[in-house]
Symmetry: C2
Subunit: 431 residues, 2 copies
């Protein structure tokens, strides 16, 4: 994710028009999205809540699919079912709902299973051929009876063509739909993702669904997905937490010719990498997108963890929010991570840069009044519009470069600052 300089737009229309251009589905896929209402059993306010159901479906079942799930030990029912589904011979699609994430209720797995059975009946498939996927409140019951009633309508509206409706359908507190695609060989890769108002998987779940028509072996697509997810979706973070529901699913219709493995992996990496940064910058409370590049760590994972330690420090994040180059907090977060994890750290070999400007070198801070003023200006120039616009209007990042030594491990991670908007959104999430 070194060079993710994303596009910017002047209007919602301009953005959506570009999205339509990107959004042409690979061969063999259809999607549909519908709205419904339900009354959550646990909610004190007795008013209906809107729910969106989205369906992503292959014309024919495929054996070429893979998935990556949260490592959270209290996962939702859809994750439990999804992990089992990886053993299925073939799959045909994914049904997705928002509002209720179906985590640890007494009937959670039965609820999702019942939903899939009705979907299977309506589509003439087996319930074993579908992934369920849910995002929303943790702890509430899935309103499965209401959902089942709407399945005929959901299946009836399946259509080929564009994936943009799916990108819109899976949104929760995102302020615009996110879709990336790439042409590969004779075919395509199209991926949609949802983050959250605050970009953070744990808040409202990170979901991404990837469709392709390139032929491939099942083992190959799974290996590639694993490598790509590590360096893209797993390299964005707000607070290091992971949701009970984070899910990435890839499926191929295999209607187009094979391409060299490396070519497919590069294209998929670009798609997922751009989508990851899309998720980060589309965050309501986000004042600055922060990019931390770490070099000289013992390996990739160590580099990524040091980068996330900087990204996830509330003190680094609040300083950036305030355009305050309180650079000591960056070094402190690195030293804290090393100390808590018993990692060697030679501060004589550490160099730190913000926006290319050296702030720490050879064991000591390198600060002066003029530099501090320049850093304030730099941070101010990186501020995102505070309005949660319905299109990406900015692509500036606060670039923090960390060199830990001369080893070869490097990683780039993306996150955002910690703002009043984050607190507002998350303290009032369900109201």
């Amino acid at each position: 994710m070194e060079n993710n300089k994303l596009e910017i737009y002047n209007s919602k229309e301009e953005y959506l028009s570009d999205l339509e251009k990107r959004g042409k589905l690979p061969e063999g896929f259809k999607t549909s999205v519908i709205s419904m209402e339900f009354f959550p059993a646990e909610r004190p306010v007795k008013k209906p809540l809107p729910m969106r159901l989205s369906l992503l479906m292959l014309d024919k079942p495929t054996s070429v699919f893979g998935a990556a799930f949260t490592r959270n030990k209290c996962p939702g029912a859809p994750v439990i079912i999804g992990k089992a589904r990886l053993m299925s011979d073939k799959v045909r699609g994914v049904i997705i709902n928002n509002k209720v994430s179906n985590v640890c209720t007494e009937t959670g797995v039965e609820d999702s299973t019942m939903l899939l059975e009705h979907l299977a009946k309506e589509t003439g498939s087996s319930s074993q051929e579908f992934f369920p996927s849910s995002t929303g409140i943790i702890g509430w019951q899935l309103p499965v009876k209401d959902m089942v009633k709407n399945i005929p309508r959901l299946v009836g509206e399946l259509a080929p063509g564009t994936g943009v409706n799916l990108a819109k359908g899976i949104m929760t507190t995102d302020s615009y739909p996110k879709l990336r695609s790439a042409d590969v060989g004779d075919g395509r890769i199209v991926a949609v993702a949802k983050g959250a108002g605050m970009i953070e998987p744990n808040m409202a779940t990170m979901l991404s669904f990837i469709m392709t028509d390139i032929s491939m072996e099942r083992d190959t697509i799974r290996d590639i997905l694993k490598r790509v997810v590590e360096k893209t979706y797993n390299s964005i973070s707000v607070d290091g937490d992971q949701s009970t529901s984070d899910t990435v699913i890839i499926m191929s219709s295999c209607t187009k010719k094979k391409v060299p493995e490396k070519e497919f992996e590069e294209a998929l990496f670009k798609v997922c990498s751009d989508l990851s940064v899309d998720i980060v910058r589309n965050s309501e409370g986000c004042g600055h997108v922060v990019k931390v590049s770490v070099k000289g760590a013992s390996d990739y994972v160590a580099a990524r963890n040091f980068g996330k330690a900087v990204l996830n420090s509330p003190l680094v994040k609040t300083a950036i929010f305030g355009n305050d180059p309180n650079v000591g907090r960056i070094l402190s977060s690195i030293g804290d991570y090393a100390g808590n994890n018993n990692l060697a750290l030679n501060k004589e070999k550490i160099s730190l840069f913000i926006g290319g400007e050296v702030i720490f070198e050879k064991g000591a801070f390198r600060l002066d009044q003029e530099k501090e003023l320049r850093l304030v200006d730099y941070l101010k120039s990186r501020v995102l519009d505070s309005d949660h616009k319905e299109f990406p209007s900015h692509n500036n990042t606060v670039d923090i470069d960390v060199i830990l030594g001369s080893a070869s491990g490097s990683a780039t991670v993306f996150g955002c600052d910690l703002s009043n908007g984050y607190v507002r959104e998350n303290s009032d999430y369900r109201s």
Copy 2:
């Protein structure tokens, strides 16, 4: 820290009067505090900043002392010197400054050393007999020349009697001084501490200085300190980070008779435990003090880490700030911690309670509309006054009980919610 129900007061005068009662210094100690001004070399605004110097000194050097320091791998010069000082035969005192934490500057260790040399000269001691201690901005140079000029005045004002001036002297963004004491045998333990406006060691450093006159072996006092720090200062947290400067120092004048080791340890535990909770509740942005009690973990450390995982989840913290019983986030933070650390977790054995009310049991959430309304009322009843008052006017806590299984490891940790006040304070820390 099971039963830390602290006192509450109706006015600043009432609190300070109580503090004076607690504050009588142990035999053999003197303290002094003075104010001075300096011009930080790195600060764009060319206006003087006020700094406070505090001195804590024994009438005679003692070999009975110990200390605990941050594990941060980029510690400040005072921590580097302090760790070496643990090898000294005897010590006489501690000099403390605020505003500049003296971390990783080119001349940091020399600066602190020069300060100690002047202090030694002025007091007729060896510079090896003093601990330096600094809190404030990370990265700025210690204004050692200005400080040295003020040492004669600082030493001149040393006086026995009360420790309250020291408790006030070491304050930074704390809104009231914190001091706890206990009578033990013929003597006393008196401890002062500073947290930060936001209670969090990493922001402005947690410092605590503990004085006693009870005779003891050096090894004994060090063993006791280690055990007590683990269960008190190391059991409070806002975000799991640790400062480059966190320091706890204990010294005994040994002018009073020995007491049984257990008796001393219990008294010290009570003093440090109450001080830790004092630090938590005196936090400017803190809307709720949160107490997480974990039982049934494999051991104490595991229990504490699960508790801190709950305490440190921004999503749990923002929900509590908003009086929103979004209880799914509590389970998610537990599952996330177990997943990231490859720990076994049997959700069938987990029980969760808020304010004594069961919210999760036997693998499923136990929620209904009435319970949700009761939980909202409970959270609202726990809100601290939003004014950052100059005395503790409230002692309510949000009690979260976590039972993980039937193993014997248990721990109680204290923290606070994540509020707009936190963001405001930390994004504007240096202005």
